[in-house]
Symmetry: C2
Subunit: 143 residues, 2 copies
């Protein structure tokens, strides 16, 4: 898929790719919950519609944020794994969590408690840990 | 405006507010270009449609990311200023720039050069500088 960008601004260009309400949630599910199949993503609490999920997976694959693979032991089901480009979204996602925890919490009384994640104590350690864990998961699956 | 959130996830909640292709560009224009009027935002290179701009400004005001004011010397034109909640989006916007600069640049050959901004040398200093500058602008305008 050829992407068309609105401008030369890095912020706008980033939004041209993942600036919608769903793409970063799929990436969240991969990074923080180890999800990898269409069924895994469909089961998330936000109830993404199958058509939207399918189009977002295609788009994320086309810009090389994820790759579609098959496991040797199951050639029927596709699995989706983040590339390094996708894994490097961790700092951005971390800043989203921190800002939301502080500023959106008063608007959303149902927001999960994230104070036990350690972001406030050592942000870069937590980010490295998430990235390390995800890389280990990928290694374990496809070597 | 009462916001409805899809879940208790901080990432999803953040996207429920500013997870569209325009809101963060309006905030970018305020933070990085000192823009403050409807006309200012309309003139940006991405050509936001007036109806979308108007609805995003209302939404951003309703969640207290921006405030609508009038300058003493001009009671006809509204100006829009970021609140502290909005100013604290700087770390998130910085991570967007850095990720995009590294990973979206190969897809967008028109992307501006941001290597002179110093993010790679001292990210936190640049972020503080942007926030300091914006707060000074607000003080200069409305005291």
């Amino acid at each position: 898929m050829k992407k068309t960008f609105r401008s030369g601004c890095p912020i706008a260009s980033m939004l041209d790719i993942v600036g919608d309400k769903w793409s970063l949630l799929i990436i969240r599910d991969m990074l923080l919950a180890g999800k990898k199949t269409f069924k895994d993503f469909s089961s998330s609490i936000e109830s993404i519609a199958p058509g939207i999920l399918s189009s977002r997976l295609k788009m994320l694959e086309s810009v090389e944020l994820i790759t579609k693979r098959k496991l040797p032991e199951n050639n029927k089901e596709n699995i989706y794994l983040l590339t390094e480009k996708g894994i490097e979204l961790v700092p951005l996602i971390t800043e989203m969590i921190l800002w939301s925890d502080k500023h959106v919490r008063p608007l959303n009384t149902e927001m999960y408690d994230v104070s036990d994640k350690g972001f406030d104590r050592d942000k870069s350690k937590v980010m490295e840990y998430i990235q390390f864990n995800y890389r280990e998961l990928v290694k374990g699956l496809v070597g």
